[in-house]
């Protein structure tokens, strides 16, 4: 499973794995989107670019998830899909970019699940193994 929700008594843990940083980040964002709303009720009619940067790859994971949460409020949109276009280290800083596809919020059609307040450094894990990357953090609900 590319992303997994982990048991936490009050909040939710999110873990994403992938052969590359890009894949793990993509799957983490997909996991987040699926937590917020039934993505089947959201049409991918408009695309929005999202960016994040951080000091290390694990912090980039948290930063990208938070950038997606901010984009939902700033654009007033829900998103169905996420495509990653860039994840790399430039001058010692990690940068990620991707494209979210969705539509303006319509509460008569979109089946909302739960609000995520933020991605935190709680339960933080970032590791590179023979099989690729693994990121993890606790989402504040």
């Amino acid at each position: 499973m590319p992303y997994e929700y982990l048991e936490h008594q009050a909040d939710i843990g999110l873990e994403a794995t992938g052969a590359t940083v890009e894949e793990a980040l993509r799957d983490g964002v997909t996991g987040l989107l699926n937590l917020l709303v039934d993505v089947e009720t959201v049409e991918p009619r408009e695309e929005v670019t999202v960016q994040a940067s951080a000091e290390d790859a694990g912090a980039l994971f948290v930063s990208l998830l938070n950038a997606v949460l901010a984009t939902i409020d700033l654009r007033g949109m829900f998103f169905r899909e996420f495509r990653i276009t860039r994840a790399e280290q430039v001058n010692g800083r990690w940068i990620a970019e991707g494209v979210l596809a969705g539509e303006p919020i319509d509460l008569s059609r979109h089946a909302v699940e739960i609000e995520v307040k933020a991605a935190t450094y709680g339960g933080f894990l970032a590791e590179q193994t023979d099989r690729g990357w693994r990121f993890r953090c606790i989402l504040d609900i």
Partner: protein
Amino acid sequence: MSVKAQVRKIHDYLYEIPPQGRMRVPARLFVDERALRELTEQSSQEWNALEQLKNVATLPGIQKAAMAMADIHPGYGFPIGGVAAFDPKEGVISVAGVGFDINCGVRCLRTTLFRKDLEGKEERLADTMYQVIPAGLGSTGELKLSTKEIDQVLREGAHYVVGLGYGRADDLTYIEETGRLPDADPSVVSTTAKQRQLAQVGTLGSGNHYVEVQVVDQVYDAEAAEAYGLELGQIVIMLHTGSRALGHQIGTDYLPFLDKATKKYGIEVPDRELVCAPIESPEGRQYYRAVMAGANCAFANRQVLAHLVREAFWKALQVPDTAIETLYEVAHNTVKFEVHEVDEERRRLLVHRKGSTRAFGPGRPELPERYRAVGQPVLVGGTMGTASYILRGTELGMRETFGTALHGAGRAKSRRAAKKAYPADEIVRRLREQGVIVRAHGKASISEEAPGAYKDVDHVVDVMCNAGIVARVARLRPIICLKG
């Protein structure tokens, strides 16, 4: 050594883990034997509350003990139900000690209505509340602000929205800090944070946030109840929400900022979420000023929601707004400078409360005159189907916990486990049989917030009262519950 072997009993409702490893002070828990057993059993889990409490005890400048109230459960960084006070010179300020929902809290409104006044009108009132009060993910408020106006909200808190006609000036007297914290600085709050909030002032949110119409079904302390204006059978309203997206974004922005500061000042933290900065460092001061701004946003948000509750009562039942007064409002995700007695010396400390409520005892100058003789009202939210409580702060609480008490029942089951165990439709039906009407915007918030997902609130309150940290004033039973 197992965690169980580390724990020392002080009395039936207080246990302590003496300092070990890098702990600078003990970890203290206001729990009973049963709760302690559950906590030690859970200590093998990766994210557990005891480990988090011990981690807090390692932070520089922490005073007396890292403490947990009876509703303790795992959070991120700090446990929920935690309180930690720091010396301003040697201590730190931490994002995890406040959380992302800065100044999340509870407002209690008392009414001149009694249970019989609502008979047969509950459905109408529930439907009107559902229409009038924006709640749930993706909802927006009727108050649309410009970035300039948001700056006013951040500076003036509840005072600003009262000026716009939301609620009345007498509400402010009964809000912690009168609904406005000094030292708030909008210039250290990002544009993203402000823009996320433009349409979210006056929205409830989701998760454990709610508006509940309740009836007073027990009065334990006649003197305090009279001071609080409470009687048996009276209708009160509790609303629980925080600083919404603006607060979340302040936390998000300052997490990497304080991560950097932690490294810069060479502070060793056992969990990355505990990132912090010395209180008197430029970074620490800046985060403090941002948190104060976030806190003012939460005060304003609850003030607008209190106005909307009044509007719903008027629309549904023609109850005038003068029949609904603020009893008290107090928050449970805060960091503030307060004066406390430590080792018989009065000292100014920075107190972090994460999922714990300020519970000042009698005589404190911060309390409104009307309540000063009996102590501060402490608002404890239950769950959709169980009781809530109004307690009062005590002198013992001032000495033992920096004037802090529990904030709710405390979660017992994870959200996923609750979702599996409690289908939303069944919960709504069962609550209806118990006389509680539920209206929710998302089914997930019903299942995940089902009464069974929480600890027994009556028991948790018993523990804190038996420990003498708070005293019972009244118990409230829910009639209508509005969720996000």
